[in-house]
Symmetry: C2
Subunit: 242 residues, 2 copies
């Protein structure tokens, strides 16, 4: 039994901007179904021309890209509400792979309907572009992180970003949230070695800023952490949910 869009619990989260009744009704028609996957399941493959697009409804995943020599870059972490497959939908080829890290529920759309969305509901097409702009914005920040921040600054930045996303999705309780990734995932997302990632996390823990173990992230002092990260602490603004 697939959830009806108008009852979608995601819509109510702070993270997302509201839709009109009309738009919700349209999305219901656009929605082709739901997909449920287990941890480790590949959802989209780099270079593939997938016929389907997704929105993550629950669970977490990862966007990653592998070089010919086997090195892996984690592009970012996928949280509920994230739109998956834009590149396949438009360019006809994914620049990265997407894989589930927990049990995930995904809203499924047909790529063939995608153009129709722009034509009949330009406001929703506008929203897709909005999301693309948000992603571009985020990737620019990530670039600055990997390129210019030290390991400690980068790790602090990453944890703050993750925590803020968690907050907007009501995933945080008592300054804690589930973070079901491995240190290897985190290392590959920041361009650090696994060993140094581990030691950098220890350092943040020693300083009583944040700790992440047993798949639980705890932030003790968000503003101090942001200070270490050389970043500004401003709330992410609401974004559309596709």
């Amino acid at each position: 039994m697939t959830m009806e869009c108008r009852y979608c619990p995601l819509r109510r989260k702070d993270a997302f901007s509201p839709l009109s009744q009309d738009e919700i009704a349209f999305m219901q028609k656009f929605k082709a179904g739901e997909l449920t996957v287990e941890p480790g399941t590949p959802i989209l493959m780099e270079g593939s021309n997938a016929p389907q697009l997704f929105t993550a409804l629950s669970g977490m995943g990862i966007r990653e890209k592998t070089l010919a020599n086997g090195e892996r870059q984690v592009i970012n972490f996928i949280f509920p509400g994230d739109f998956i497959g834009l590149q396949a939908g438009l360019l006809g080829e994914m620049g990265h792979s997407v894989e589930a890290r927990t049990h995930m529920r995904l809203c499924v759309f047909n790529r063939s309907d995608f153009w129709n969305l722009f034509k009949t509901h330009p406001s929703r097409g506008f929203d897709v572009t909005w999301l693309a702009a948000v992603e571009e914005h985020f990737l620019g920040e990530t670039l600055a992180t990997i390129g210019q921040r030290t390991a400690l600054q980068a790790m602090a930045w990453a944890l703050v970003k993750i925590f803020q996303r968690g907050e907007a999705l009501d995933l945080v309780t008592n300054n804690q949230m589930a973070l079901p990734y491995t240190q290897r995932d985190m290392a590959d997302s920041l361009g650090l070695s696994l060993v140094h990632t581990n030691k950098t996390l220890s350092k943040l823990k020693d300083r009583q800023l944040a700790s992440w173990s047993d798949k639980v992230l705890q932030i003790n002092d968000l503003s101090a952490l942001a200070e270490v990260a050389v970043m500004n602490l401003d709330k992410p603004q609401p974004r559309p949910l596709i």
Copy 2:
């Protein structure tokens, strides 16, 4: 005297996909004017809510982002045909600054007309999204470069990418093209120090793969360079021109 879109010399380049007569006529109305700037001129400021969007018509520029501690990350290099200001247009805030590095001519659009573009010409809205997806794709590759490639691999990758963009724009003659940036720009784009950038370029020159001096890039062996870069050499597909 501003150029009419239908005579725009950019449209004919391999880099871009063709437009219908109708679409060109519409773009003509959408176009608010032209802007000419000198080297060093800031075009958009990080954090600003600019009322205007641009497409680069000629010349080159740079997208960059500066951290609170003064470190600078070059997000990418701006070539003719690049769309500028998507983030301001949608999110109301640029995530990076844009600055001219040569004399540049820019096509100017009003942000207030932007929504209208999606509404009345969904195909053009679709194209804007296409460009956003291309950018996202590129930033993902850049992330993998800074995060996973060595200095030599990264430099080789950057030069191949630039050269390919140049080729698609007919900027290459005799395996040479103008590349009016400084080594500092390049260093900040790859997250390397200036000194190491210089030494890495020397190494590529010693190996007879590529040389870049006096603002001219020369590629001697593109496929060998791509091999050093651990990358695949496939032609960039045509993309829309806004």
